[in-house]
């Protein structure tokens, strides 16, 4: 049997950087047949109003993510130890610029 041609383009996640030294932030996703077109599409969809310095596109299937069902074991142990959070500590008034 003939395999049907997959006409759906690959999904790419788009990350943009606004200033040198700043982290790239996730701004959305685009469909594209390859990485060059993915960059072009990302530029047209997310960077056309300027203020973007650099763009990354990453094939969405290459991203490994936690699943909601695992969120308990991944994240809760940290949440129940309040001394792990910076908010737990009192900052003396004399200390500024933190």
């Amino acid at each position: 049997m003939e395999t049907p041609i997959n006409t759906e383009w690959q999904l790419w996640e788009v990350f943009a950087q606004e200033k040198t030294g700043e982290p790239h932030f996730h701004c959305g996703s685009v469909h594209a047949p390859d990485k060059e077109i993915a960059l072009q599409n990302a530029r047209d969809v997310y960077a056309r109003r300027g203020s973007v310095l650099n763009l990354w596109v990453v094939p969405a299937k290459e991203i490994t993510a936690t699943s909601p069902s695992e969120s308990g074991e991944f994240f809760e142990p940290a949440n129940d130890k309040i001394y792990r959070h910076p908010q737990f500590y009192h900052i003396p008034k004399a200390v500024r610029d933190i």
Partner: protein
């Protein structure tokens, strides 16, 4: 700005040519809005369309100044007739399929990049300034269409065939972009614009390279359409103008 009458008339005509190319092609491209093959491409084509309208506005504004008859860029865009438009016929042809649109964008953007590269060194400061700004946008337009030429040419047999058909259909309209006449000669003698003979040779080289990379055959060069530059257009221009101009003409001074 001091220019003798003869040069001023030639400059006005030249500015109309390059402004009208962009105005009409911008409107043709806008017909893809909501009809693009995919959302991302729809946005890309619409962006390019808006860039072209912006460039048309800047060149028309300058043209109005050069003419010195207190017309505005809007008067020039909305209150001229078919015969007053000086765009080349290439840009007024109906949008066709995606391959046709891409091939036309490629031919036109390649020409614009070469033209703007030279125009940014024009002896007329204002023309140089507008063109330097346009060059940045146009360089991206060329990149966009070039990448698509490669992919359509190297895609499936159907995509390659559609691209070849589009190239065959458009080829005889490409010569008019490089038309040399007294207007071009007068202005290039003053270093206001570059020599179109030179640009034409560079264009052919670049296009031939793209064709090689896209497995597209260069059509036999023969008859080249012309007439647009002197106001003799295809039947398609009247239709696009009526759609573009009706609102302003029905409700002059309308604002929104």
């Amino acid at each position: 700005m001091r220019l003798d009458t003869e040069i001023r008339d030639a400059l006005f005509s030249f500015l109309l040519r390059i402004a009208d190319d962009r105005l009409i092609l911008g409107h043709r491209l806008s017909e893809w809005c909501g009809h693009g093959p995919i959302l991302e491409e729809d946005i890309a084509l619409t962006n390019i369309s808006l860039d072209l309208l912006g460039q048309a506005e800047a060149y028309l504004k300058f043209a109005a100044e050069v003419e010195g008859k207190s017309r505005t860029e809007d008067d020039l865009a909305y209150f001229r007739e078919v015969i007053d438009f000086k765009n080349c016929k290439l840009v007024e042809l109906p949008k066709g399929d995606f391959a046709f649109t891409i091939a036309r964008q490629f031919f036109f953007s390649q020409y614009c990049v070469l033209l703007c590269e030279k125009l940014q060194q024009s002896s007329l400061e204002q023309l140089a300034g507008i063109s330097a700004k346009a060059l940045k946008e146009t360089t991206y337009h060329l990149r966009h269409s070039y990448q698509w030429m490669l992919r359509l040419g190297g895609g499936t047999e159907e995509s390659r065939q559609r691209l070849q058909n589009a190239v065959d259909e458009l080829w005889n309209y490409t010569g008019e972009m490089f038309l040399t006449d007294t207007i071009e000669q007068q202005l290039s003698a003053q270093n206001i614009i570059p020599s179109f003979v030179e640009i034409s040779a560079l264009w052919k080289e670049n296009v031939a390279r793209c064709f090689r990379e896209s497995s597209i055959t260069i059509p036999q060069t023969g008859f080249m359409h012309s007439g647009g530059r002197i106001g003799k257009h295809t039947e398609h221009l009247g239709h696009i103008l009526s759609e573009m101009q009706i609102l302003t003409r029905s409700f002059p001074k309308a604002k929104w």
